[in-house]
Structure formats: C-alpha cells, structure tokens
C-alpha cells in the first residue's frame, strides 16, 4: 500500500496538525518508507490468529462505588495551569460546528 499526499493531508486534519507543502512532501516520502517496512507483516498468514489487545490475563478490574469530594486545592492548581479561565470555567474560543 502506498500513501498519497492527499491521504497525508487527510490524516493531518484528523490529528489536528498543520503542515507546510514541503513538510507534507517529506512526510509522504518518509511515510512510504516506513509503510514499506511495515508491510512486511503481509508476508505471513494471520487469518486465524487471535489479536492480543492486552498482554495480561487480567479482567474485570473494578473499584467500589465510593465518592470522594473534589479537592479545592487541587482544582486551584489545575486552574492555575489553564491558559484562560473565568469563574471556575475553562475558557475556549467559540466552538464552530
């Protein structure tokens, strides 16, 4: 499989990354090199192999439904890190759907 410039641009949009035309050019080239290498996976028949999404035999890890009230000192520290806040809200530029 080869990836086209247009696909690279589409993927960039999905990832909310902006690239200059030169960067897109470079990425497309590097991408295709990496994909060539990754396409090695097609050499083997994986049809009947179960995928491993989790390496551990763990399952159904649960916590009790107990509430701890919010920590005001922590919230203060969180809001201090925020670029813009107002009245305890995070402030963001207008959302355009």
């Amino acid at each position: 499989m080869k990836i086209s410039r247009k696909e690279v641009e589409h993927v960039a949009a999905l990832a909310r990354l902006a690239f200059s035309p030169e960067e897109v050019e470079l990425f497309t080239r590097q991408f295709n090199d990496i994909l060539d290498y990754i396409n090695k996976l097609n050499e083997i028949d994986l049809e009947d192999v179960e995928p491993t999404s989790h390496v551990q035999p763990l399952h159904t890890v649960l916590r009790e439904d107990e509430a701890v009230p919010g920590d005001s000192a922590l919230l203060e520290a969180v809001l201090r890190e925020a670029p813009e806040t107002e009245n305890g809200f995070f402030k963001v530029p207008p959302v355009i759907d």
Partner: protein, 482 residues
C-alpha cells in the same frame, strides 16, 4: 388523507447511571455543583492519570440489560472513541465498540393497553459522559465545566422499528418507566440524565429498501422528540414529493423555532478511530454475577400490571396507574398484604391518597404515611368505627403528622357510636321530643324519618352510626304504630 410514506425511526438513547461516584474515578456523580468542583486528575484527563472501572456502574448496566431482555455478553471490553472537542478532556471517550456489554434485547410498547410493537434493542453499551460546554450565540468565548465528565452512561440503540413520531415518544416513555422502576437512572430529560437522538427515514409504502436516513439531535423532552420527528417527517415528505433527494446529514432540533437545521453533512462525518482501550482490562461477566443481578431485578411494569389484574381483580385502569410508579405499586401491594380488600384499597389509594401524594414534595417512600397507616384507616372504616367522612379527615391528619389513624380517632373522640343500647337512649329521647314528626310519619309522610335521623346525628355530634340509627328509628316507629 393517507400518508404517502412509511416512516422508519430508530433511537439512540443515552442514560446516566444512578451511581454515587463517576465511572472511572471517585468524584461524586452529582448534578448541579459549582463548575469543575467535582473533578480530579482522572476525569480532567490530566497527563498520567488512569481510569478504574466502577463496579456499581457495571451492575446497573447489567440490570438495564436484563430489564430490556438483552443477551449479556460474557466478554466485553472498552474502546477509545477519538475526537477533538473541548468537553472531552482526553480527546477520546471511553466507550464500547466491537464488544458491547449486551445486545439483542427488546421492549414491548403499548398504547391504550394495546400492544403497539416489540421494539428491538440492538445493543446496550457502557461509556463515560462528556463535560458541558456553555456557549451563547454570538459570544466571543465558550466555557467548559467538567463536572459531568466521566459520569457513567449506558447507550441503548434500538432497531429501525418505530413507525411514527408518536410511537417514538411512547417507546421513550416506556423505556423511562422501565429504567425508573429498576432504579437504574433518575431519567430526567431536563437535567440531561436521559438523552435521545433519532435516525429517521421515509419510504414509499410497500418498499422493501430503506430510504436515506437523517440523524436528529437536541430533542430535550418527550414532547420535543415527537415534535422534532413530526417536523422531520413533513420536511422529508415534501422533498420526496418534489422528487428531491434526502441528504445524509445530522440535523439539530430547535425547540424555540419548531424546526430542524443542518449540523453536519456526510463529508463532515467523523472518523472515530476506535481501538481497544489499553488502560482497562476486558470485562468478563460471570454467570454468578448475572444470576444475582437477575434475582435482584424487580418485577417490571408490564408483568406486574398483568399480575395485579389477575391477583386482585383490579380494573385495567386501576392496574395501569398503580403499576405506572414502582413506589405506588409497592405501597398498594403492601397495604393489601396487611388489609386484604384489594378493591377498597385501590379505591382509596387512587382517590384521596394519591391526591395527597401528588402534593407531597418527596418520594412516596419518604412519606410518613405508610401502607400500615392506610390499612389501619380502612379497617376503622370497615369496623364502622368511623364514618367515611371522618375517615377523610383522619387520612389528612395522618398524612401530615404521620400519626396512626387509631390514635387520631381516640385523641379526638371521633369514634362512631355503634353500641345499640347507647343509641337507643338517644333515639327514645328524640322520638319523645318530636311528637309532630312521629305523627307525620305515621300519617304516611315517610320522609319525616330523615328529620328524625338528623336530630339523632345532631344529638350525638355526628358520631352515630347512620345505618344503626335508621334501623333503630324504623323499628321504634313501627312499634309506636302498632
């Protein structure tokens, strides 16, 4: 005029689960707090934080699955649904995708006690809620509150089985009743704890293929669901009538304007890049857990309705109202257990008691007036210790104070005089003092007895047992006549 098109509707319902804490962290699951005060590194999605799944969220979701007759999957797991939006602090929502908790359910929908349809539940899965974004049109900023972020939800997806906007609304009401009954959610559409999106398409009658569907969002009440869909039926029908084509798009309902408009089209459709959530091991539902949840599941409205009809001989109307609310039905059955006169209990409950419950600010269960109170009251009436009219007074007092009816009757000396020899004395006195009326009676003016009766009641302060008074009067008057 018969409609030209068949309407096909499927719903996607999001329901917040009634847990104490959030789905993946210990923050309180509570509506209406100050912005961002119910948050922590986990639900804020701070770098390095990790989710841990709430046991109660799993159990409530399983209860929902059983209440909707779903098949629970022994193996399910979480997936990440990736998209950028300010109310989603990790830029992905932890949801379920290829392996949902449950599938293949159904919910029967009735209208006027007639079966409308068995609506398929295609899947039921767990996911976390997003935060809340506040934005007024034309404002330079939007504001984000993450208090709701991470609240546990079940998403319930129906098959394309609903055939009218009204049916969609009734389905949703039935679903709400079921979820309230099983105490899975408080289902408040106005607070967003129950939310509904709809897919709707039209096709010519008799056609086998589905028409192009459109998704409708932002219908925030039961009425809005019906209105929004009715608008959409009209809109699509007009386009089809003109020979036009329906666009694949998502539309938003505007309650104030009474119309939908385009939110995003097919081209703007999102690619969510789902993949298994590595931070959460899979969920395996053991048979023992499922059995326990099944055992704890209360009887659902429909089977209870049928049982009440059969067991107590209630009318369909009575049974429907009583089973419409689990607390009311529990109240009724508990009353009947102590006082086995199902019809009388139903009459009182659906009459004066329900009126009081409707004025009562809290839940039925929290009322100081219990089935024991009602049963005692009804026994007092049956034993002719108080009159029907007195009983209403006692009920009101008992409801307000929580005092037992017997105590109220005793304290206020409201008891009915049913002892014949005591009444006999009064009757004799009345007859002696009202010679004119006695005469009238004897001359054939039978109505005179009413006057005499009134005099007896007056003399006893209204506490005389009326049946007994009539019997005594008639007996004595007959004797006088001999």
């Amino acid at each position: 005029m018969p409609a030209a098109y068949e309407v096909i509707i499927g719903l996607e319902v999001h329901v917040e689960l009634h847990t104490t804490s959030k789905m993946f962290c210990a923050c309180p699951n509570r509506f209406g707090a100050e912005p961002n005060t119910n948050t922590c590194p986990v639900c804020l999605g701070l770098p390095g934080s990790l989710p841990v799944f709430n046991k109660n969220a799993l159990e409530l979701a399983l209860r929902a699955a059983l209440a909707l007759n779903c098949r629970v999957n022994r193996y399910s797991r979480f997936a990440r649904k990736n998209y950028f939006y300010p109310d989603l602090p990790k830029a992905y929502q932890i949801s379920q995708y290829e392996f949902p908790l449950a599938a293949h359910g159904q919910l029967a929908v009735y209208k006027n006690r007639e079966l409308l349809r068995n609506v398929k539940i295609e899947r039921l899965h767990l996911e976390e809620d997003a935060g809340k974004l506040l934005h007024d049109e034309g404002q330079a900023y939007s504001y984000v509150d993450y208090n709701r972020c991470g609240v546990p939800l079940v998403e319930i997806v129906t098959g394309p089985d609903l055939r009218s906007p009204e049916e969609a609304r009734i389905f949703l009401e039935t679903l709400r009743r079921t979820l309230l009954y099983t105490r899975i959610s408080d289902c408040k559409m106005e607070e967003g704890s129950l939310r509904c999106d709809a897919n709707i398409s039209l096709r010519p009658w008799g056609s086998e293929t589905l028409g192009q569907k459109v998704e409708i969002k932002n219908m925030n009440s039961f009425k809005a669901v019906q209105r929004g869909l009715e608008y959409e039926v009209k809109r699509q029908a007009e386009i089809l009538d003109r020979g036009g084509r329906i666009n694949q798009e998502t539309r938003r309902w505007h309650e104030d304007k009474g119309m939908t408009d385009e939110m995003r089209s097919k081209e703007g459709e999102q690619d969510y890049r789902y993949f298994p959530e590595p931070d959460l091991p899979p969920v395996i539902v053991e048979d023992s857990l499922l059995t326990r949840i099944g055992t704890e599941l209360p009887e659902l409205p429909l089977p209870r309705y049928r049982r009440l009809l059969a067991e107590y001989g209630l009318t369909p109307y009575q049974a429907e109202i009583i089973t419409g609310d689990r607390d009311l039905a529990d109240f009724y059955e508990e009353t009947v257990r102590i006082y086995y006169e199902p019809q009388k209990a139903a009459n009182w409950l659906l009459g004066d008691v329900l009126k009081l419950f409707k004025q009562f600010p809290g839940a039925i269960k929290q009322s100081p007036f219990t089935p024991l109170h009602l049963a005692q009251l009804l026994k007092l009436v049956d034993g002719e210790q108080i009159s029907g009219r007195t009983a209403k007074e006692v009920l009101e007092e008992s409801f307000n104070s929580g005092k037992m009816p017997e105590l109220i009757v005793r304290e206020k000396s409201l008891g009915q005089i049913s002892e014949s020899h005591e009444l006999e004395k009064v009757v004799d006195t009345v007859l002696r003092e009202n010679g004119a009326a006695v005469r009238d009676y004897r001359e054939g003016h039978k109505k005179a007895v009413t006057f005499l009766m009134g005099s007896v009641m007056k003399a006893t302060g209204g506490k005389a047992n009326p049946q007994l008074v009539i019997a005594l009067l008639e007996e004595k008057l007959a004797k006088i006549g001999e």
